[in-house]
Subunit: 289 residues, 2 copies
């Protein structure tokens, strides 16, 4: 006889997880959410779209990468869900998108309901900050695929924009001005490299540094929440015609700026004018970026 | 000095993967897809929705579970992408949704561009069959999170439905008739259990069985593609008022039927009238469902 629990899949823990996260998920619901959680899909009433001239749906899927490994080592799970939502909000914002809904996917070798709850609860904090309803989610227990205690977290954002206001970068011309908004750290990229540097230097994640009179730890800096630029960019969009927006994630400035440039366009950046967050400097000093 | 490749992340392979999958992704594009692949989000022109009375957006996120482990053992990667898309199409179909777009997430300990291409190419086959544009995707290389050679595959479907035609199950009443559409096997659930039974019986995935004069292998049966019920259900929706639709996935009939039932409603099923696919019988004989 072989049972599900012998096969490493714990059905009760799945049910407990669903129970634990329900109230958090519901706290993100607004009057446009039509289906209750626990059905086969999430539903959003698009009545708002009926008033738009030429509505366009924007969507992006992403993960938080191995930032989950730092969360595991720090046993602090409330921030990576916020990272994921904010990262995703920024991605559709690059095209002028107003976020409306989010769906998450959490997978692990074994489900720990209290950890999933902490992740989802964090996610709902960011959902509410960005005006997003968490309309769907999946929790998967996959023994033999994931390493013990490790978790992967991915999700999809949905947003809308008027077709006339869709930002593509195609009108960017020579002599246009490049404006930068600062990050607060690694956001959700470069963690495999950062972890390797930490491993090599044998530094503790709790090691303290004093930077500009602030007490910091490496672990705390690594878990700093990926910023959502929704407020700043929404403000700029009202004041200016932004021709292109790039979200600087994996691959950095070098890979992400050209994604929105028309052929033949480049950017001139004075690196001395960029204030580098401490964690970048620390990695650079101890490894290489 | 620590570099990205020392940290187990191969940037060139990421770039090669993007190149390999681009043509497949583009083959799913229709006139409503507005942004090119490689930008920060996918975009769908919702002009169709302008003609609807009360448009509702439906969305669901899901994974294929440890069916990926069977794909890895059989070294056959073209079907799990189809599993994922079809599974997702069925999920929004439960609420009457017409699928319009899909986004995928593939993560692994190390990226193998040729395997990712095979998965995505399969995914685009199902996308085209279901009239869905593959508007977004993310490939993540996560050493230390995934076990060697293992892959996880998840994705999000987007669809639309008229609010008046949103199927919720809430009008289901006593004496309503339950219609079943057959599956062709395990679809995308129960694989951790199935694999445990295989491990215990020490059977080869290539072991042949003759069932109703057909030559079958265990591996072949396990990889049978999750059926999309889009055609059948669309036909039924035109002819009948379907009050509720349930997609029988993990948890089986016992867990999935009650998801759409109003309180106090149950279903009477005669198990002798259900034709059980061979693979279920084989698992039942050798383990327990």
């Amino acid at each position: 006889m072989t049972t599900y629990s012998e096969a490493g899949v714990n059905i009760e823990k799945g049910t407990e997880t669903v129970k634990r996260i329900k109230k958090h998920v519901k706290s993100t619901f607004n009057e446009n959410v039509l289906l209750d959680s626990g059905l086969f899909a999430g539903a959003i009433d698009l009545k708002k779209i009926k008033k738009m001239n030429n509505p366009v749906l924007l969507s992006s899927i992403d993960g938080v990468g191995t930032k989950t490994v730092i969360a595991e080592k720090m046993n602090k799970w409330d921030s990576i869900g916020q990272d994921l939502v904010n990262h995703s909000v920024n991605d559709i914002l690059c095209h002028g998108g107003e976020p409306i809904a989010f769906l998450d996917y959490v997978a692990s070798s074994s489900i720990k309901p209290e950890i999933i709850e902490e992740i989802v609860q964090g996610m709902t904090v960011a959902c509410k900050e960005n005006g997003v309803a968490l309309i769907g989610g999946e929790t998967a227990e996959m023994p033999d695929v994931y390493q013990e205690n490790e978790i992967d977290l991915a999700g999809t954002i949905l947003g809308i924009v008027e077709k006339e206001k869709l930002i593509t970068g195609k009108n960017i011309k020579e002599k246009d001005v490049l404006i930068a908004l600062p990050s607060n750290g690694l956001h959700t990229n470069g963690y495999s490299l950062a972890r390797k540097v930490i491993e090599k230097t044998k530094i503790s994640l709790k090691e303290q540094f004093v930077v500009e009179k602030e007490d910091l730890t490496i672990g705390g800096e690594l878990l700093k929440i990926h910023k959502s630029y929704l407020k700043e960019v929404s403000f700029l969009l009202k004041k200016f015609e932004l021709k292109g927006i790039s979200h600087i994630t994996g691959g950095g400035l070098i890979d992400n700026l050209p994604r929105i440039f028309p052929e033949g366009i480049g950017a001139k950046i004075n690196p001395n004018k960029i204030k580098i967050p401490f964690i970048f400097e620390w990695i650079q000093e101890n490894g290489v970026i």
